[in-house]
Every structure is written in structure tokens, then in C-alpha cells.
């Protein structure tokens, strides 16, 4: 068996509320403390307690992983449902760790195991002449070359309680640590790294740290004695000393980017998967300023999304950098006010974390279903900018940059993210998240110098760029009016046909200026072999999976490139033309049913894609799956439309 050193796909699962997230955080931190790069991906139900959630951690020493794997090298479970759902995804040479109590559980006793999945698994096992039980799955795994490891969680907890003379219910709380320690032990990884992770997670609570460290030690002992190391090829070892990494997810990156970009006012109505951003901001509302004094953000939880966007718009009129964060259903409610900010030229940032839709859809699953909606949302016509980030680091920078765009062009900016980015955790070198280098561009913000002028100010004066000086409410000498109605240069309501034309032209002209001024490297980025004809065009969070697919293809001797479009509106039609002309074939990949990006591309450039790869089961694409699809395309064996599916996600 070939050795698999410092390259691992680890999965932990369990009922929501049982600490699966904590286990994953512990394992991720332990890897990061050893200088290893980590990518974490969280899948969970719209439920508080009991439903199945799982967390994938991809670990690599060579470089930052950009995609999760659909196959698992190491599956950690402490209950039967995780075994049932994920054992078949475990690779030969890998290991399934399970609670000895769950050795033989019939599927029908697993409450939340979907009927469809139960029947699928049963029928698969029937073909192998195995029973529809966890025992059947474990036996099948062993036949496929997967090592199965029954772990006596209860015994270890009992031993821990005795050793430290604590109640069993206290010892029980170390269950997650034990699960992680089993992995650390099997991987023969440095136990010190887990100690550091525990110290970070339970910072300042020495007793708890000691309890958990002891639990880990007891676990290592058991693993050392019982595990068949010879038939397990995966190992992790400390890779680097003195390397500093920031471990963060998309929600945190967006929040921090906004703070770096001068956010002073944020509103929100709770909605998955956007809420964490605003809650993070509320917990981090005050910070020092480089020029002295303190900076702050006022965060308001509103009664609904109508209030969230209108309150943020009201704040923006006073000069505050203002934004709101939501998901598709909330964005639907915000649309009436989006038009108001359009006609009133209000700089406002709306962050839309797309999720499985329409309607309630799948609140905690990912999708890229809001693209055409974001581009068109609202009755009538007004300029807007739609921006989509490809990964966590881009999310940070774009969240800051969105305010510059909003203020420079006095338009609403819709920053499209998704659930995949929200709950993807990565390790990032601090230099990639540097705040001091971030530019603040306030455009035509007009600060008056008079003390007591009460004359009206031509807020909506037509200019060559369409952008007019923008005074703020409350200052002397710049009185003006806002109205959702068409208006004169002073903001006076009017239905005059000529003024209407002037104002409409003034506003819409800004789109041309935006298209002209935003640098091409902000509009889209090209990765992989820049001259390769095989061209994948995509947007948003698919970036990481496609990058990994390109690497895998390169190893197979197939050259390909990715054109990742970041500015979705105004659409960079002209600059994309050379890439479209040399693309052969042109493949569009996105997480929705109808190929919304492909449609937009065709609308704006006339070019239809040759192949469309879509996924709409609520789970993100992986590099593995894309590689297979692209190989089929390269071989000329693919249909025009390829749907990526995985029944076990």
C-alpha cells in the first residue's frame, strides 16, 4: 500500500447539537498548529437538535486545498446514522471509526435516515448479499479494503471519570475530543498540536483543558494497542514551524472585510446562512483606529428584511457606510427598496448569501440560484453592480471593495455569496488579509464648508459620468430632497418628460462608466493554462473546485483554463470576447438548474456555451466530480448538459 502522507480527507458526523462542529474545529486547529493547510466544509439541516450534520476537513501540507472531496479517507462517527450515511464514501485503505455499540443497527431503527437513502443502501447491500444494517455496511467496507475500527467510547469515558474522579456526565462532554484523538492517534500526528487546539478552544478554562487532554491521552493509549497501523496508509506530521495562519470562514471574511472597508451601520433579519455575519459583527462592534480613537459599527436586528434594507438606506443618506446581509428569501423582500436606492442613487451594499431555493427551499444548503434575480431585481430600470466572490479571501476583499463601488457610482451593490462560502473554513496567511492596504474611495461625497447655508443643492445634477456630488443629510448649505418618484436636480418630484429623460439618462450612463472604469482584473480572472482552448467559465464559489479539477486534469495531461467572472453586472462582455473566441470547447459550470450564468453570457455576448455542467442538489461541486465531467467533455463523450449528482452527500 502506498503511503499517503500529509494529504487527507477527514469526515466527522453526528446529530446536530452533539458538537460535530467543535470536533471539526478541534481537528482543523490541531492541523493548523502543525503548519498544515486546512479546508473545512460544513453540511447541516435546518434543525436545532437531532438531525444529521457532518463536517469535512481536507488537510494538505503542500498547498491550501481549494475543494472538498466527495470520498473520505477517515470517517469518524459516534452514532449509527453517520455510519449509515457515509461508510460507502470511504476509500480503500481508509478507515471507519465507529462506536462499538453501533456495530449492528438495522436501518429502520435510525430515525432520521431518509427513506430514499435507506432503500438505496438496502438495495446496494442486497446485491452484495449483505443485510440492511450498519453491520452490512461495515462488512461491505472491509471487503472494499476499508479498515473498520470499533471504538469503545463508553469505556474510555468511564476510565476518564475514574482517573480524574469526576462524574460520568462531565467525562461524557469530552466525546468530541475523544473522536478527534482517535484520528490523531491513528495518523501518528503530534499530540502537542491537539493540546494547543484544546487550549485555544477552551482558552482560560484550565480544568476543562486538562479533562480533555487526559481524555486524549487515554484514547491514544487504546489506539496504540488496538489499531492495525500497518494497513492504514494515511499519516500527518508537523510541516512547518513558526507559520502563522488565520482560520476563518466566509461569514467571518465578509464581516471583517466590511469592517476593513469602513462599515459603520449594518442591519439584518435572521436568516440562514447569512445571520452569522451580522452576529459576528455585533460581537465585534468596536476596534481601534490607526489614526487614534475607536471605530465602531452599529448593528441593528430589524423586524423584517423590508426594515433591514430601508433602515440601512436611511443610514447611508447620512454618509455612513451601510449594508445589510441576507439570503434569497430576504432579498426577495428587499427588492422594493432596491429600486428606491437605485432612483435615489444611494450607495448601499446588500450581501446575498444564496441558498437552496425557491421559497424556503433548502435553507442550509448551497445554490447559485439568485444570479439572474440579482441582475434584474426590481421593477423598472436602474443601474446596479452585482459582484460575486470566488473564495474566502476574495470575499474579504470584495466586501470592502463593494463600499468603494457603491460610493464611487452611487448605486446599490449586490455582493453575491452563498452557503458554500459561508460555511467553508480555510487557513489563510495573514498577508492575504491585510487591512492597511485597503483603499477607501468615497467618490463624489460632498462635505459642505459653510456654517449656515439654507439654499437648495442640486443633488441630482446631470454630469458626464452620471455621478453627481453627494452631500449628506444634516449639513448646512446642501438642502435637497429624496423621493422614490422621478425628480429634478434638487430631488423635487416631477413627471416632466424632458426631466425624466435627463435623469434616466444620467442614472443609466453610470453603467457605462462602471464598465469602463473597473479594471479588468477585478472583472474576471484567468487560472490554469491561459492558452488552453478547453475553457471553463464560471462564477462564485465554484472557483475552488474548478481549480482543483484543473490540477487533476493537468496531472492527466489535459490542459484547461478557468475564466472566473467576478463582475456579473454590468457584464464584462467586451473584455471576455477574446476568451470566448479562443474557447474550444466552452464549458460553463454552476450550481443551479438552468445555467443562469450561461444564459446571461449568451444574452450579453451572443456566445452559447458548448457544455453546461450544473449541480442543484444543494451541495457544492467538488474538484473530483468536475474532473470526471471535464474528462468526458475532453474525450468528446459528453452530452451538452451534465448534471453532477451524489446520492450520499
Amino acid at each position: 500500500m502506498s503511503s499517503r502522507h500529509n494529504d487527507l480527507s477527514w469526515r466527522v458526523g453526528g446529530p446536530q447539537g452533539s458538537g460535530v462542529d467543535t470536533a471539526a474545529r478541534m481537528f482543523s486547529y490541531a492541523c493548523a498548529f502543525g503548519g498544515l493547510y486546512v479546508l473545512g466544509r460544513r453540511e447541516y439541516y435546518s434543525n436545532i437538535m437531532g438531525r444529521h450534520s457532518y463536517y469535512d476537513v481536507r488537510v494538505s501540507a503542500a498547498q491550501q486545498p481549494t475543494s472538498h472531496r466527495e470520498t473520505v479517507d477517515m470517517l469518524v462517527s459516534f452514532e449509527a446514522e453517520t455510519l449509515a450515511r457515509h461508510t460507502t464514501s470511504t476509500v480503500a485503505g481508509g478507515v471507519v471509526i465507529y462506536n462499538v455499540k453501533d456495530e449492528d443497527i438495522p436501518f429502520e431503527r435510525i430515525t432520521f435516515l431518509d427513506r430514499r437513502l435507506r432503500e438505496d443502501l438496502a438495495s446496494y447491500l442486497r446485491e452484495q448479499e449483505l443485510p440492511p444494517t450498519t453491520a452490512g455496511l461495515l462488512e461491505d467496507a472491509r471487503r472494499r479494503g476499508v479498515q473498520t475500527f470499533a471504538f469503545p467510547y463508553d469505556e474510555i469515558i468511564q476510565a476518564l471519570a475514574q482517573k480524574l474522579d469526576v462524574h460520568k456526565s462531565v467525562a461524557q462532554r469530552t466525546l468530541n475530543t475523544i473522536a478527534v484523538a482517535v484520528s490523531v492517534g491513528m495518523l501518528e500526528y503530534d499530540p502537542e498540536c491537539l493540546v494547543k487546539a484544546l487550549e485555544k478552544i477552551f482558552s482560560g478554562r484550565e480544568k476543562i483543558v486538562r479533562l480533555n487532554v487526559t481524555a486524549a491521552e487515554l484514547t491514544y493509549e487504546y489506539v496504540r494497542e488496538q489499531f492495525d497501523f500497518e494497513h492504514f496508509a494515511f499519516r500527518l506530521s508537523v510541516n512547518n514551524q513558526g507559520k502563522r495562519m488565520v482560520v476563518l470562514n466566509g461569514n467571518q471574511a465578509s464581516a471583517l472585510g466590511k469592517l476593513a472597508g469602513g462599515l459603520s451601520f449594518q442591519t439584518y433579519y435572521p436568516i440562514s446562512p447569512a445571520t452569522d455575519e451580522s452576529v459576528y459583527l455585533e460581537g465585534h462592534h468596536t476596534f481601534p483606529l490607526r489614526t487614534g480613537g475607536t471605530g465602531s459599527v452599529v448593528v441593528v436586528q430589524t423586524e423584517d428584511e423590508l426594515s433591514a434594507i430601508t433602515m440601512a438606506a436611511g443610514a447611508a443618506l447620512t454618509g455612513a457606510r451601510s449594508s445589510t446581509a441576507t439570503s434569497g428569501p430576504g432579498f426577495s423582500l428587499m427588492v422594493e427598496a432596491l429600486g428606491w436606492t437605485g432612483i435615489n442613487e444611494v450607495p448601499l451594499v446588500v450581501t446575498d448569501y444564496q441558498r437552496g431555493s425557491p421559497s424556503t427551499g433548502m435553507p442550509t444548503r448551497t445554490e447559485q440560484g439568485d444570479l439572474l434575480f440579482a441582475v434584474r431585481a426590481g421593477h423598472g430600470e436602474f443601474p446596479r453592480i452585482v459582484l460575486a466572490s470566488g473564495d474566502v479571501v476574495e470575499t474579504f476583499h470584495d466586501a470592502a471593495q463593494a463600499f468603494n463601488y457603491a460610493e464611487r457610482y452611487q448605486v446599490p451593490v449586490i455582493h453575491l455569496l452563498d452557503k458554500n462560502l459561508a460555511s467553508t473554513t480555510v487557513t489563510v496567511p495573514p498577508a492575504e488579509l491585510e487591512v492597511e492596504g485597503i483603499k477607501i474611495e468615497r467618490g463624489e461625497l460632498y462635505i459642505s464648508t459653510t456654517q449656515n447655508g439654507q439654499d437648495p443643492f442640486p443633488r441630482f445634477q446631470p454630469t458626464e459620468t452620471g455621478v453627481s456630488p453627494r452631500p449628506v443629510l444634516g449639513q448646512p448649505g446642501t438642502l435637497h430632497w429624496y423621493t422614490g418618484g422621478e425628480h429634478t436636480v434638487y430631488g423635487r418630484v416631477t413627471e416632466d418628460p424632458v426631466v425624466r429623460e435627463q435623469q434616466m439618462e444620467k442614472r443609466m450612463r453610470k453603467l457605462e462608466v462602471i464598465a469602463r472604469e473597473i479594471p479588468v482584473e477585478e472583472k474576471f480572472r484567468v487560472y490554469g493554462d491561459a492558452d488552453a482552448p478547453l475553457t471553463v467559465m464560471s462564477w462564485g464559489s465554484n472557483k475552488g473546485a474548478i481549480l482543483e479539477a484543473l490540477e487533476l486534469l493537468a496531472a492527466d495531461g489535459i490542459a484547461a483554463r478557468l475564466v472566473q467572472v467576478r463582475l456579473l453586472w454590468p457584464f464584462p462582455s467586451d473584455e471576455l470576447r477574446p476568451y470566448l473566441e479562443s474557447a474550444s470547447p466552452l464549458v460553463v459550470a454552476e450550481c443551479n438548474y438552468s445555467g443562469q450564468f450561461a444564459r446571461l453570457l449568451r444574452e450579453c455576448t451572443g456566445r452559447a456555451c458548448d457544455y453546461l455542467i450544473v449541480k442543484y442538489n444543494g451541495r457544492p461541486m467538488s474538484g473530483q466530480a468536475l474532473r470526471e465531467a471535464l474528462k468526458q467533455i475532453h474525450a468528446g463523450r459528453a452530452e451538452h448538459r451534465i448534471v453532477l449528482r451524489n446520492p450520499y452527500e
Partner: protein, 326 residues
């Protein structure tokens, strides 16, 4: 600002050179005039004031005041106004709108604004009908009444806006009448000066669509004694104030007398200041507890960039929470 304080502000400074398109005899005129007089009388300069309007005839009020004016969306006037006030607490913020705007499409905002007690004044123009869309019943029209453009008597019940304001948490509640300008000016000034969220309901005839509650009806011309239906509670010695630190018993008693007044209607319609609750902190005070510099560096004014246009935020501590070093 000593110089500014010595300037006498007149109503004229709040008047605009912009044609008014309300119907002749509309109650809105009395309210508009009262707003202008009240603001001038408080010595506020137009640029220190922002007036937000909802949608409907009354929502156009900001058009007719020489101050920062923001004509918003149907029902959304309160959150717009709240956003501006919270971002720049020095602004004097008024929100105005009709009974449909505030009690129907905007009722959710009305209720939740009460929970915050932001220092702004909401004036609800109550004429019981949707004027601009030709006289449909509003949520304040009593059940069974049939104003002239209704094909059938009103089939939906009435919301008691005063009661809703109280239960939502508004800390200053008053009622005026659009043709009692003298009282209305005083009420607006008290509402603006109240440090917290004020609700001022102004009863007004709609001469075009409300043929039941007309100017003559409010004036009591149909009554045997010919006396107006409205009266000023303060003239009868009504004390609306719940003082700071009031005990539970006092609070209960004040609320009970308010409830009584809020249900009076018909031949005796109470106007004046009906409730002042000084026992509740403002939202601004609550923010300042979290963010000590909130008043001196509010969202509208805090520095975000240095002279070179670079971010001045220092987020090291936040990154440290997330950092790991091998």
C-alpha cells in the same frame, strides 16, 4: 454654535417655492403649517432637520417643507427615518404618514419601532381613508361605516392606533386635530423635544372622500349644544407623565388612565398629551452603553480612512482570535 442660537428662526424659512397639490380644504394643510411653525419655534435651522414621508397624500409633506426631505416607500417611513437618526443622532428626525401607511402596510414597523424608543417623532395623519387611491377604507375606519366611495359598509374592524402605540412601547403619545393649529404646534414641539420615540396622531378631515367625519362633524355642528367634539385633556388637568424611576403602581395607574382616554370617541374626543413615559431608556443610550464613542463618533461621522485614502481600522485583535501559529 453660539452664533446659530442667536438667530431667530421664522416659519418662513421652512416654506418652499414648490406647488402644493393637496385638495382644497385638506386637513394636511393645518398639519403642514403646524410642523413649519413648530420647527421654527424650536429654533431649529432647516438643515438640522430631516423629514421622512410615507406614501399617500400625507407622505408628500416633506415636499412642502424647506428642510432635508425624504419621500420613502409605502409603509417604510419609520425604518428609513430610524436609520438616518441612528447614523447621525444630531439630526432632528420627523416621520410622517397616513393611517394606511402606518397602520396597514407599515404596522409591523410601527410595532417594532416601539420596542426601540429611538429619539424621533412620528406624526400619523388620520383621516380614516386612503385618499390618493380614491377613498378606500383604512385600518382606522370603524367597522360598519360607509364613507362615500365605499361600495358597501366597511367589513373590517378598526385598529386603535393609540392603544397599539402604547402596547408597542412608544414613550410619548399625543393626539391633535388638524384645525387646532395652536395646540398642534405645541404638541409637535413637545413630541420633538421628548427624548425618545413619540407618536402624534392627528385627526383630520378628508374633504374629498370622508363625508362622515368632516370638519363640521369634528366642530360638533350636528350636536344640540354645537360644541366641538374634541377637547384638550390638559385643560381638564390630565397628567400624562410616568416619571423616571416610577414604581409599578404609578405606572399601572398612568397606563389605566391612558387606556380610558384611548377608548373615548364620539361626542367627546380627547386630544393633547396622553402619555409620557420617562422610565424607558432610549435606543441611543443603549447603543452608547456598547459603543462609548457613539455620540461623538456616530456612524455618519466616524473616520474610516486616512489622508491617503487607506483604511484606518485596526482589526488585529479580531484576527488574533482566529489565528493559529505552528
Amino acid at each position: 454654535m453660539a452664533i446659530l442660537e442667536s438667530i431667530k428662526v421664522t416659519r418662513k424659512e421652512y416654506q418652499v417655492d414648490f406647488p402644493n397639490d393637496w385638495c382644497p380644504g385638506c386637513g394636511d394643510f393645518g398639519i403642514l403649517s403646524s410642523i413649519q411653525q413648530a420647527l421654527a419655534g424650536l429654533g431649529l435651522l432647516p438643515h438640522q432637520v430631516a423629514i421622512f414621508g410615507g406614501i399617500g397624500c400625507s407622505g408628500k409633506t416633506p415636499y412642502y417643507v424647506h428642510a432635508y426631505g425624504v419621500h420613502t416607500l409605502h409603509g417604510r417611513v419609520l425604518p428609513f427615518a430610524a436609520g438616518a437618526k441612528l447614523a447621525n443622532p444630531e439630526l432632528t428626525v420627523l416621520a410622517v404618514g397616513g393611517d394606511g401607511d402606518g397602520m396597514a402596510i407599515g404596522a409591523g414597523h410601527f410595532v417594532n419601532m416601539g420596542r426601540r424608543n429611538i429619539d424621533l417623532t412620528y406624526i400619523l395623519f388620520n383621516n380614516e381613508v386612503y385618499g390618493l387611491t380614491k377613498g378606500q377604507a383604512s385600518p382606522t375606519l370603524p367597522l360598519g361605516l360607509q364613507t362615500k366611495s365605499l361600495p358597501e359598509p366597511n367589513i373590517q374592524g378598526q385598529v386603535n392606533a393609540l392603544m397599539l402605540a402604547m402596547t408597542s412601547g412608544f414613550t410619548w403619545i399625543g393626539r391633535g386635530y388638524s384645525y387646532n393649529v395652536k395646540q398642534l404646534v405645541r404638541l409637535i414641539q413637545e413630541a420633538v423635544q421628548h427624548p425618545g420615540l413619540s407618536y402624534l396622531e392627528v385627526l383630520q378631515p378628508c374633504p374629498t372622500y370622508n363625508n362622515l367625519h368632516t370638519r363640521d362633524w369634528y366642530a360638533g355642528k350636528d350636536r344640540p349644544d354645537g360644541q366641538p367634539r374634541w377637547y384638550d385633556v390638559q385643560e381638564e388637568g390630565y397628567d400624562p407623565v410616568i416619571p423616571e424611576g416610577a414604581d409599578e403602581e404609578t405606572v399601572q395607574a398612568k397606563l389605566a388612565q391612558f387606556v380610558e382616554k384611548a377608548h373615548e370617541w364620539g361626542d367627546r374626543i380627547p386630544t393633547g398629551v396622553l402619555l409620557v413615559n420617562r422610565n424607558v431608556s432610549t435606543f441611543e443610550e443603549r447603543i452608547a452603553q456598547r459603543i462609548p464613542d457613539y455620540r461623538s463618533a456616530p456612524p455618519a461621522k466616524r473616520p474610516i480612512a486616512d489622508d491617503e485614502g487607506r483604511s484606518v481600522a485596526v482589526l488585529d485583535a479580531f484576527f488574533e482570535e482566529l489565528a493559529v501559529e505552528s
